[in-house]
C-alpha cells in the first residue's frame, strides 16, 4: 500500500489540487512570480535543479503542455527526457508500470505524465520512487493548468477570493474544470459552470464534491457581472457521440461573443485553457480583445510549472 500525496517534510506528488490548502497554493503562486522574474532575465536559467532528471511521459498528444514542462525543467537546469509512447515498448506490449520501473532504474527524479485514462498518475505514483506530476489524466485532473489559471487571475486582480468565475463549455468531460474547482473554491472564488445538460451532468454530482458551485444551462444570465469568463474547448466528438445536435446550435447558445461579454463586469477577463476552436466556443474577436488573457496564460504556464518542479525538489 502506498502513501498519500502529502508526506511529512514536504509534498511528494502533484496529482490534483484536492490536497492543496490555500497556503500551499499561495506559496506556489508566489514562487511562480519569482520564476517569472527569472524568465525575464538575460540568462533565463537558474541552477536550482541541476543534476536532476525530469521525464515527460505523454501518452496523449499535447505539444503545448509538454513543451511548457520542458522549458520549465530546462530553466531550472534539470535534465529533461521526453518519453514518447508511440513506437516505444509500451506499444509493443510492455506494461505501463514496467515502463515506469525502467524509467526509475534509469535515474529519473520526476515523472510528468499525461494520459487519456483517469487515475493513471495515481497508479504511477504508487509504483515510482520519485515524484509524479499529473499533466492531465482523462477527465479527472490537470493541476498545473488550474494553477496557471489561478496565477493568471491573481496577476490581474491581486486576489482570488470573492471573484465570480464563469466556466462555459464541456464541463462534464473537463479535467481543467475539476482541478480548477478545487483551486478556485479553496481560494474563495464563486464558480458557476455553464453548459447544455448533456455536457453539464447532474447538479447533484457536482454538489456532492463541490457544494458551493453553481450549475446552469443559461449563459446569458450566468455571465451577468462575472469577473472571469473561461471558455472550454468543444470537441467535435461530442457532436458525433450524440451529445449535441450541431456545433451551430452550441455556438448560438454558448459561444463567448462580444455581446455576451458586454454583460460581464467592465474589468472582466476572458480565459481559455487551449487549444482554442475560434469561431465555436469563442469568437476570434473576443479571443484577441483587450479583455483576453489567453496568451498570458501560455506564458504563465512555464513559470507555474517551474514553481511546481521546484516545490517537489524539497523532498529528495
Amino acid at each position: 500500500m502506498g502513501e498519500p500525496a502529502i508526506v511529512p517534510g514536504g509534498r511528494r506528488h502533484v496529482l490534483d489540487l484536492d490536497d492543496f490548502a490555500a497556503e500551499e497554493i499561495s506559496a506556489v503562486l508566489e514562487t511562480a512570480r519569482s520564476m517569472q522574474e527569472v524568465l525575464g532575465r538575460r540568462i533565463k536559467q537558474v541552477p536550482a535543479l541541476r543534476g536532476r532528471t525530469v521525464v515527460n511521459m505523454f501518452f496523449e498528444d499535447s505539444t503545448r503542455t509538454r513543451i511548457s514542462f520542458e522549458v520549465a525543467a530546462r530553466a531550472l537546469s534539470a535534465a529533461i527526457v521526453n518519453f514518447s509512447a508511440r513506437g516505444s515498448s509500451v506499444e509493443k506490449g510492455e506494461s505501463l508500470l514496467d515502463t515506469v520501473r525502467t524509467i526509475e532504474a534509469l535515474g529519473a527524479d520526476v515523472i510528468v505524465i499525461r494520459h487519456a485514462e483517469a487515475g493513471v498518475p495515481q497508479l504511477v505514483a504508487h509504483a515510482f520512487g520519485g515524484s509524479v506530476i499529473n499533466a492531465g489524466d482523462g477527465r479527472h485532473a490537470h493541476p498545473s493548468q488550474a494553477l496557471l489559471d489561478l496565477y493568471t487571475i491573481h496577476a490581474r486582480f491581486g486576489s482570488i477570493a470573492g471573484l465570480r468565475v464563469v466556466i462555459v463549455g464541456d464541463v462534464v468531460h473537463s479535467r481543467v474544470v475539476r482541478s480548477g474547482l478545487w483551486g478556485l473554491t479553496t481560494m474563495g472564488a464563486r464558480v458557476t459552470l455553464v453548459a447544455p445538460t448533456t455536457l453539464l451532468g447532474p447538479a447533484a454530482y457536482w454538489h456532492a464534491t463541490w457544494p458551493e458551485v453553481t450549475v446552469t444551462t443559461d449563459l446569458d444570465r450566468a455571465i451577468d457581472g462575472a469577473d472571469v469568463v473561461m471558455a472550454l474547448r468543444l470537441q467535435q466528438e461530442r457532436q458525433d457521440a450524440g451529445l449535441l445536435p450541431s456545433l451551430g446550435e452550441y455556438r448560438r447558445r454558448y459561444a463567448i461573443t462580444a455581446e455576451r461579454l458586454a454583460r460581464a463586469a467592465p474589468h472582466a477577463i476572458v480565459m481559455h485553457p487551449g487549444p482554442m476552436n475560434a469561431g465555436v466556443e469563442i469568437t476570434p474577436e473576443v479571443a484577441t480583445a483587450p479583455q483576453s488573457v489567453i496568451e498570458a496564460q501560455v506564458g504563465n504556464g512555464v513559470a507555474v510549472r517551474m514553481a511546481l518542479l521546484y516545490h517537489l525538489a524539497g523532498e529528495s
Partner: protein
C-alpha cells in the same frame, strides 16, 4: 540555551556608518554603485547603507534585492523547498560596481550563490561584499570588503541578527549557544 549580546542598536548604527565611509573612500565616491541586499536581512542593511551614503555624499545609490534560493546547493537536503521570493534590481548592473550586502558572513556559500545569481542577471564591472558580522569558518575562497565587526565563533554557535524592519524588535546581534 545560552545567549550573549554582541552588538546593540548603537553599535549597529556605527558599523553601518563606518561601512558607508569605507565604500566612499574605496570607490572614490558613489557614482556607478548599486547596493544589492541578499534576502532577507541584507535588504534593510543595504537600505541603511544607502541612507548613510546619501548623508555623506548627497547622492542616492540604487538599492536592489537578491533572492538566492534558486542558487543554493542544499535543495532537498533540508526538508521542504523554501518559497522563492522576488529578485528585483532597479537598474541594469552591467558595468556597474555592485556591493552585495548581507548580515553575517560564515561559510561563504550564500555569497557564492549570490555571485552566481548576479552573473545571470548582468555583467558587473566589479562586485564587493559588505557584511555586518564576519564569524569565520569559511568553506570557500571568499572574503568581505567591508566588515562591521569580526567575531570569532565556534561552529555549534549561532549568530542572530535582529533588525527592526524585519523582526519588529530593537536592533541587536546575539550569539546563541545550545547547551547540548
Amino acid at each position: 540555551m545560552h545567549t550573549r549580546q554582541l552588538l546593540d542598536r548603537e553599535d549597529i548604527r556605527r558599523a553601518v556608518t563606518r561601512i558607508a565611509h569605507q565604500i566612499v573612500e574605496r570607490n572614490a565616491g558613489v557614482t556607478g554603485l548599486v547596493l544589492v541586499g541578499i534576502r532577507r536581512r541584507g535588504l534593510p542593511l543595504a537600505h541603511r547603507i544607502a541612507a548613510a551614503l546619501l548623508d555623506i555624499e548627497r547622492h542616492s545609490v540604487p538599492v536592489g534585492v537578491l533572492d538566492i534560493t534558486l542558487y543554493r546547493d542544499d535543495l532537498g537536503l533540508r526538508g521542504p523547498a523554501p518559497i522563492v521570493h522576488a529578485t528585483s534590481i532597479p537598474v541594469d548592473i552591467t558595468d556597474r560596481t555592485v556591493i552585495l550586502v548581507d548580515d553575517v558572513l560564515y561559510t561563504g556559500r550564500t555569497t557564492r550563490a549570490a555571485l552566481d545569481a548576479l552573473s545571470d542577471i548582468g555583467r558587473p564591472a566589479r562586485v564587493q561584499l559588505a557584511v555586518l558580522i564576519d564569524r569565520g569558518h569559511r568553506e570557500l575562497p571568499i572574503h568581505a570588503d567591508y566588515i562591521g565587526r569580526v567575531i570569532p565563533t565556534a561552529r555549534d554557535e549561532r549568530i542572530e541578527t535582529l533588525l527592526v524592519e524585519i523582526d519588529h524588535a530593537e536592533d541587536r546581534v546575539v550569539l546563541v549557544r545550545s547547551e547540548a
